[in-house]
Symmetry: C2
Subunit: 124 residues, 2 copies
DNA sequence: CGCACGAATGAACAGGCGATCATGTATATT
DNA sequence: AATATACATGATCGCCTGTTCATTCGTGCG
């Protein structure tokens, strides 16, 4: 894959983040890209329920095993999940609680918007 | 469109979003895609400082006006920003506080990861 | 050992996306 | 009205990315 990692270091910005530099923006973007696809969102959401093997995931979500594996690779790379072999299977789980928080925040936001006002219509 | 996950007879979910359906996943993904690009992240981060016109943004971030406008269109559509005309200019600002929270959470996560473990190495 | 199962990888293809260039629209100034 | 400024839109083009197909690697079991 592409995954060419540049020697990024994150400038420690205090919260109330405000203006961030290009590097930080790139990092955030890269990480958030994990949640920018329905398949990965569903994977993560399912893993929120607890550890799970690849084929279980594939079955539960309705994707091919290969596709799931490919996405898990990305999620692994982005440190959103970790996998551990157990016999024939590999059990995946969320890397830490942060991920869950992020997901919920995202869901919160979407829910809030829906309640908010009418439809986001096609932009004139 | 509406959100379906909250009403689910989701067994024992205390606080979590838990398993979400395809629709919800798609919505989340769509929204999170806003943060999946450095340009938009920088735009949002800059707007966290306060309202700002398009050309100001373009200058501050170092993008072409056209590009910024295009991205703002996306952000508008996703309800992350709102724009209001004021004379010749159009002042943009974050749609609400949720957006800021989301951004900060994202930054938090990234920062946490950096501090956390060593480098995310190339995947074997 | 050989075979089946689960997972990972590689190649390739199609669709989507972000940036640029060029042009159109709105508002203010003269 | 004419022009300049500020923003928006449309078209086009590379690039990236998600999926599928085929294959390989790893592991337990007969």
């Amino acid at each position: 894959m592409y995954i060419a990692w540049m020697g990024h270091e994150l400038e420690h910005k205090q919260q109330g983040a405000g203006v961030i530099d290009a590097q930080a923006a790139e990092l955030v973007a890269e990480t958030m890209q994990a949640l920018s696809t329905p398949s990965r969102v569903r994977i993560l959401a399912h893993l929120q329920e607890g550890p799970c093997s690849v084929t279980e995931l594939a079955a539960a979500i309705g994707m091919e095993q290969s596709a799931v594996s490919h996405q898990l690779r990305v999620l692994r790379y982005l440190r959103l999940v970790v996998g551990e072999r157990q016999g024939r299977n590999v059990l995946y789980e969320l890397h830490d609680s942060h991920v869950g928080v992020l997901l919920e925040e995202a869901l919160n936001h979407v829910a809030h918007l829906q309640i908010g006002h009418a439809a986001k219509e096609l932009i004139p």
